[in-house]
Symmetry: C2
Amino acid sequence: MPKILKTESIFESKLFKINKSFIQFNSQVLEYEIICGAGNGAVMILPFINDEIILIKEYAASVDNYMITFPKGKIDKNESILDAANRELQEEVGLKAENLKLIKEVHLAPGYINHTTHIVIAKDLHKSKLKGDEPDDLEVVRIKYKDIVKYLEKEEVVDSRVFSALFIYERYEKT
Amino acid sequence: MPKILKTESIFESKLFKINKSFIQFNSQVLEYEIICGAGNGAVMILPFINDEIILIKEYAASVDNYMITFPKGKIDKNESILDAANRELQEEVGLKAENLKLIKEVHLAPGYINHTTHIVIAKDLHKSKLKGDEPDDLEVVRIKYKDIVKYLEKEEVVDSRVFSALFIYERYEKT
């Protein structure tokens, strides 16, 4: 395995930290730049109501457009994964789950970002609203699960983690 | 739609550029930090040989471990998506495709990264090696497609785009 010889911080802001590491491979030493995500990772929640699933439509600054994604957000310090999932669900779609299950963690793009998203299934939902940090209310999209591919197909920008989460749900969890 | 009032660069290195934008929402103006990926985006290639598919095992600095991913890489300036796919395939697994098809573009995490990956199916493969920028030879993994979930399940670190690409392949392309 390659060996990290030295790591130094080259940038740090409110949101991001970038490190540069010097890594010894068999043939040579290379410099790698790595984005370090916020400390505890993120949650992404797949909320189910009978045969329907809930997505959100949120402004995404990087593309200056709306994107389709699942409710999601950062895990706060000292917060469990499932508590974070239930908090985000209440903040973003105004629903609380009685039944939450972590199905898998995914690494966004481990070659250059240290960012883990925990995929959580949420069921047994009832109304409960918490105030989040979103500047405007999010658009909540509720569709039949069987129509999800057709729905995603017509949307211009879809968070890639929606596809990852659906693959994992269908192949690892769905019965 | 929210309106970008001003954008300024707050960091730039060999690999990353970070911009800060001031965005007018209905209720308030907020600062957003956005990572801007390399100019032309990336390709990720799903190489098929009969009933088998090829993955690679590559050192991922952000987790200091090996990760499973598909052959992939940046699109060079003035290079087409499919040319980039065929070049990466030759560099990373020593195969060239006679049959390449772009099936979809995915946005990694559009809330804070401006990074597009083009998912390409590669078929009709034959041996052809190009020298890439990888420091050591990559481990090439060739498995039956029907065993891919079982295979991914036992791996510690899997690039999330593997799951996205598989979902897209299965739901949009597979016949």
